[in-house]
């Protein structure tokens, strides 16, 4: 659980997550571009948020902690 001030966005979430767990740097977002890695997907409240802007507010339920933001490796085989 991360405690964040609004607006709660993808960027804010991952900045905080990587700050707490530096080993995740580069594993969810590309180091250079700071964009979502291509084979990683973001889901919340039953919706795919992978292609949302990193600065778009996440659903209220995620911001309040009622629902998680899921970071899932794509089912791309191999």
């Amino acid at each position: 659980m991360l405690a964040l001030e609004p607006p709660v966005t993808q960027r804010a979430v991952f900045d905080a997550l990587e700050g707490r767990y530096p080993v995740l740097c580069g594993a969810i977002r590309d180091h250079a571009t700071r964009r979502r890695r291509p084979f990683v997907r973001f889901f919340a409240c039953g919706e795919d948020h992978s292609h949302d802007s990193p600065d778009a507010p996440l659903p209220d339920a995620v911001a309040s902690g009622a629902e998680p933001l899921l970071v899932v490796g794509a089912m791309a085989g191999g």
Partner: protein, 371 residues
């Protein structure tokens, strides 16, 4: 009592194989980092318990793992490989400009003197270095930016810097090789570089004798003769006696001169090993027979080594970083296959036996000689 530690990188994890000096009974540890592609694992000559591993996946990218106890335990260190400045473009397979983009670390080369200093060869091709045990990595931009970089193209496996040879006594001299750009040398520790491909002939590229653009698969050197280099190219086994200023072909009587690995006997600088592969479109041994070829004359005259290796129905490949030698007497030779076998010879190649048979596809093999 002396012993050996064989470090194996595979498509689904790393394995550490250990034995005493007899090299007949082996302990197998792993998989470490199960499920991840381990492109390379190598130990520091300055501290044999210090190991580094390149761990990557298409999903979660690159990690560098470090062990300080010979591979029993590991910790992630720095994984930030960012090109210096504006990376620019190289060529894509179709000749169009393609931005430089980091994909993975192909090869780690620890310094012989400092366990915290390591070079990393990466895809898209460039050279990085750490001086703090892997926590941070800095590009040596002189290679990518020396002038020919915009003309480099990837080989089928990607545009990878796969070979790093550190001169044993001159810290300024480093040889590297890139698929499919060729071989390069620095004499000032990586500040400036020059292509060293004169004498290479590659029929598949528009100018077969071009300054850059050759698909070099692997380069090997014996530390007692650092000006003598041996190369397995995309076709042709080559030799240089002048630190890469010129090359000549030494394929000789090989059944095919396509292949990936090449290595040098630890105590005999003119004794070489290759594994001939049928062709660039058929990456398996000719006639279904897995044969290592040895030359005791620095090339040209080769003999097949087959005792203990499968001589029928064998269609595995041996990838470019998947052969190594130990420094025991007699010299031990090791190689891993895409079929998951790791073969070892404790008598310089006269006889072979599998250490393990059923690993995931082997990407790399290194060996440490332990006293």
């Amino acid at each position: 009592m002396s012993g050996v530690r064989v470090l194996v990188g595979t498509r689904k994890g790393a394995f550490v194989l250990t034995s005493d000096g007899r090299r007949s009974r082996w302990d197998v540890s792993g998989p470490h980092f199960a499920g991840w592609e381990i492109y390379h694992v190598k130990g520091s000559p300055a501290d044999p318990d210090r190991l580094y591993a390149s761990q990557s996946s298409g999903w979660f990218g690159q990690q560098i793992q470090r062990s300080s106890d010979g591979g029993r335990t590991w910790e992630p260190v720095g994984n930030k490989f960012v090109y210096e400045g504006v990376p620019g473009t190289h060529q894509w397979y179709d000749g169009t400009p393609r931005p430089w983009e980091f994909k993975r670390v192909w090869h780690l080369e620890p310094s012989p003197k400092d366990p915290d200093a390591v070079y990393a060869g990466v895809e898209d091709a460039s050279l990085f270095r750490t001086a703090d045990g892997g926590k941070t990595w800095q590009e040596l931009p002189g290679l990518r930016g020396h002038g020919s970089g915009s003309r480099w193209q990837p080989g089928a496996g990607g545009m990878c810097l796969h070979t790093i040879l550190l001169h044993p006594t001159d810290p300024g001299r480093i040889f590297i090789a890139i698929s499919a750009a060729g071989a390069f040398r620095t004499d000032d520790g990586g500040g400036t570089w020059k292509p060293i491909n004169r004498g290479l002939v590659s029929a598949q590229i528009p100018d077969p004798k071009a300054e850059v653009g050759h698909c070099v698969h692997r380069v090997a050197m014996h530390r007692s003769r650092p000006d003598v280099l041996f190369m397995q190219k995309h076709w042709d086994v080559m030799r240089s006696d002048d630190a890469g200023e010129s090359w000549r072909e030494v394929s000789g009587n090989l059944p095919t001169d396509f292949g990936f690995v090449i290595d040098v006997h630890a105590h005999e600088p003119e004794t070489l090993y290759v594994v001939p592969i049928k062709s660039d479109s058929e990456h398996f041994p000719p006639d279904g027979k897995l044969r290592v070829y040895r030359s005791r004359t620095g090339g040209n005259e080769w003999e097949a080594l087959t005792n203990g290796l499968p001589q029928r129905d064998c269609y595995v490949n041996v990838l470019r970083d998947a052969m190594a030698v130990d420094a025991l007497d007699a010299c031990g030779i090791y190689f891993g296959t895409t079929g998951g076998q790791v073969y070892a010879s404790a008598d310089a190649g006269d006889t072979w036996a599998p250490i393990v048979r059923d690993l995931p596809a082997v990407l790399s093999v290194e060996v440490q000689t332990l006293s």
